[in-house]
């Protein structure tokens, strides 16, 4: 591990990569602050740039920096405007915005920055401990287990989708998997589902799909329904200091939420959003009675909890990506797609084959968090000016960058038409409350899922691998339970609510 750390330090501290971290954090903060643009859109827009750099460590460092920056920027707009740019920072506005209204905007931003820093740093430490452990276990996995593990990951994403959403999330996952089968796979050298169209021979472009699923609908939503920023909160940002007592009050909160947030982030499907809401709820419940009343009215603990948890969860979501090659969230799915485009396959062998990528990313997380704390915090009053960029200029630029991203990736104008078409479909799906992240995760995992499935089928000459390998069977049973349990429990709760006896 020490050797790895040194390699990581060496890679991360090269001038190019340092610039990548700083640049990524600044870009992420900048765009993440714009209400309505989430980290997924920003990363999708940044991918063509990252891929054309050609160096996987630098690309991943840049994208991870953007990811952190976006979450940090999102909390700034939550606090100042009560207009969260990112779902993961919605909980930060519960207490952050009241603080800003009381004229304590500077203090709120400092607490958010410190909490984010601590969450991110402790998360990165935990990642350093747990990722090697998990990947040494994962090295024992066979393609049958990989197949089963990916099925577990995909069904967990559906299971965490929320009440009444499981079937929709499942449908989107299957649709993504179906889209992944379009084109000529390496496995069979046979074009499938191309309907004779030449442009589909190589399958759908991953960047185009990512743009169409996230960046385009968000931009269209901004056009359809201009968000009205709520009054107050803006104005002067001053007095960034916090007192010793306040620091003492939030320290245990930060400690608890870093660990809790990290482990929630590790679970597939549960990311920064769930971690931040859960963190807020837990801290409110364990706070003493008189402090509980303060929650929602500008309690510093109520701000520190979600801020710590969402950053720790972001770090945690890298664990399944780096050790198993299975993304647990839309954002890490996009990162996985970018890595595959750069010829790096994340998974348990990543630490052995490309240790510099693995360790450089972890090192850059520390650097990134430091950059956010010491560079962004003093700059926040100036960066916050971006919030006043008129949407009439902003939206054409967002649309242009989505178009450019798809064009650079494929150098093909047909890709732009596919982008617009998918973008319209994705907007309709968003309207109907279908989650889009599972579609992209399914699309990216589709190829690997089928490869591992095919390999196990060939080795066992049929589907016998399912019952001949107990671990595979166990994982598949877990996957089935994950999908069935939420609807079963919802059904029972409903029956009970209707007064129908249900046996026990």
């Amino acid at each position: 591990m020490l050797e790895g750390l040194l390699i990581g330090l060496q890679t991360a501290f090269s001038l190019q990569n340092l610039l990548m971290v700083i640049g990524g954090c600044l870009i992420g903060t900048f765009i993440g602050m714009l209400p309505g643009l989430g980290p997924m859109s920003i990363i999708a827009i940044m991918i063509p740039v990252a891929i054309s750099m050609g160096d996987p460590s630098a690309a991943l460092i840049l994208l991870a920096g953007v990811y952190y920056g976006a979450i940090f920027g999102g909390s700034t707009s939550s606090i100042l405007l009560n207009a969260p740019g990112v779902a993961g920072t919605v909980a930060s506005s519960f207490d952050g915005y009241p603080m800003a209204k009381q004229g304590k905007a500077g203090k709120a931003l400092t607490i958010a920055a410190i909490a984010s820093f601590a969450g991110g740093t402790i998360g990165a430490l935990l990642l350093m401990i747990f990722a090697p452990m998990l990947s040494s276990v994962a090295l024992l996995f066979h393609s049958a287990e990989y197949f089963a593990l990916m099925v577990v990951g995909l069904s967990a994403i559906a299971a965490f989708a929320g009440t009444g959403q499981v079937a929709k999330a499942l449908m989107m996952t299957v649709l993504g998997l179906m889209m992944a089968t379009v084109g000529e796979g390496a496995l069979f050298n046979l074009p499938r589902f191309t309907m004779g169209i030449m442009d589909l021979q190589s399958g759908f472009g991953f960047i185009t799909l990512a743009m169409a699923m996230f960046a385009l609908p968000e931009a269209l939503f901004l056009v359809l329904k201009p968000r009205v920023a709520k009054e107050g909160g803006e104005g002067e940002i001053k007095d960034l200091r916090i007192s010793r007592d306040e620091a003492k009050a939030i320290t245990p909160v930060i400690g608890r939420q870093s660990i809790q947030g990290f482990f929630i982030g590790v679970l597939p499907g549960a990311g920064a959003t769930i971690a931040s809401f859960l963190g807020y709820a837990v801290e409110r419940n364990i706070a003493p009675k008189e402090e509980q009343e303060q929650f929602g009215k500008g309690a510093i603990k109520g701000l520190a909890a979600p801020e710590t948890a969402n950053n720790a969860a972001c770090t945690g979501s890298f664990v399944p990506l780096l050790t198993l090659g299975i993304p647990g969230s839309g954002t890490t799915a996009i990162l996985l797609g970018a890595l595959i485009a750069l010829n790096v396959t994340p998974g348990p062998r990543l630490m052995i084959d490309e240790p510099q990528v693995f360790w450089a990313v972890i090192m850059s997380m520390f650097i990134g968090n430091l950059v956010l704390l010491i560079l962004n915090l003093p700059l926040i009053p100036y960066i916050a000016k971006v919030l006043s960029v008129p949407r009439n200029y902003l939206i054409p630029f967002i649309l242009f960058f989505t178009l450019m991203g798809a064009y650079i990736g494929q150098n093909n104008a047909t890709e732009l038409l596919i982008l617009v078409g998918f973008g319209v479909c994705a907007t309709a799906l968003r309207f109907a409350d279908y989650p889009l992240a599972p579609l992209l995760i399914g699309f990216i995992l589709g190829g690997m899922l089928e490869d591992n499935f095919a390999r196990s089928m060939q080795l066992y000459d049929g589907i016998a691998f399912i019952w001949e390998r107990p671990m595979t069977l166990g994982l598949l049973v877990i996957a089935a339970l994950l999908v069935v349990l939420p609807s079963y429990r919802a059904r029972r709760a409903r029956l009970r609510a209707e007064g129908v006896a249900d046996g026990d």
């Binding site: 740039v49 054309s52 009440t163 009444g164 959403q165 499981v166 079937a167 929709k168 499942l170 449908m171 299957v174 649709l175 179906m178 089968t181 796979g185 496995l187 069979f188 046979l190 499938r192 589902f193 269209l220 939503f221 056009v223 359809l224 329904k225 201009p226 008129p390 949407r391 009439n392 200029y393 939206i395 054409p396 630029f397 649309l399 242009f400 178009l403 450019m404 064009y407 650079i408 150098n411 104008a413 732009l416 038409l417 982008l419 617009v420 309709a428 799906l429 309207f431 109907a432 409350d433 089928e450 499935f453 095919a454 089928m457 060939q458 000459d461 049929g462 609807s487 919802a490 409903r494």
Partner: protein, 160 residues
Amino acid sequence: MALDRWIALILLGICLIYGYAAWFTMDGSLAPFMRRNPIWPSTFPKLLSIFGIIASSIILLGFEKSEAKEADIDYRRLHEYKLGQAIILLALMVAYALLLRPAGFILSTSGFLILGSFILGERKWHIMVPVAAIATLIVWYLVQEVLGIYMRPLPGFIGG
């Protein structure tokens, strides 16, 4: 019928067509030696079509009750939103896709940015035009020189 169930109907149609292709038409052209393989190109799609049909039917038939929640944006109030602007912007994107090659990058991009803000209601030409022109040139420089991807800057007849 709510929008999500209409979409489920469309998705069911897609799954049925996909499934039909996987179960009945794909294997026709399979080479005889590949037929002895335990896995065919159609095996995985066949499984997917089954899962897809089940999932879309569950949504379509409303087996899974979802609690009504206030969405951030609601399609039932679509007419209250700026639908016209969104559609014209989409049309502008299509036009950009079709014109990018023939008209060259600089012309089509600055045109896109200017028209985009015009559609959104901006009328300050003295800001719009310089902003669009400068941004276009910067992006062209970055793509062409830094990323090294060739893009024809000017229309073909000028010799770009």
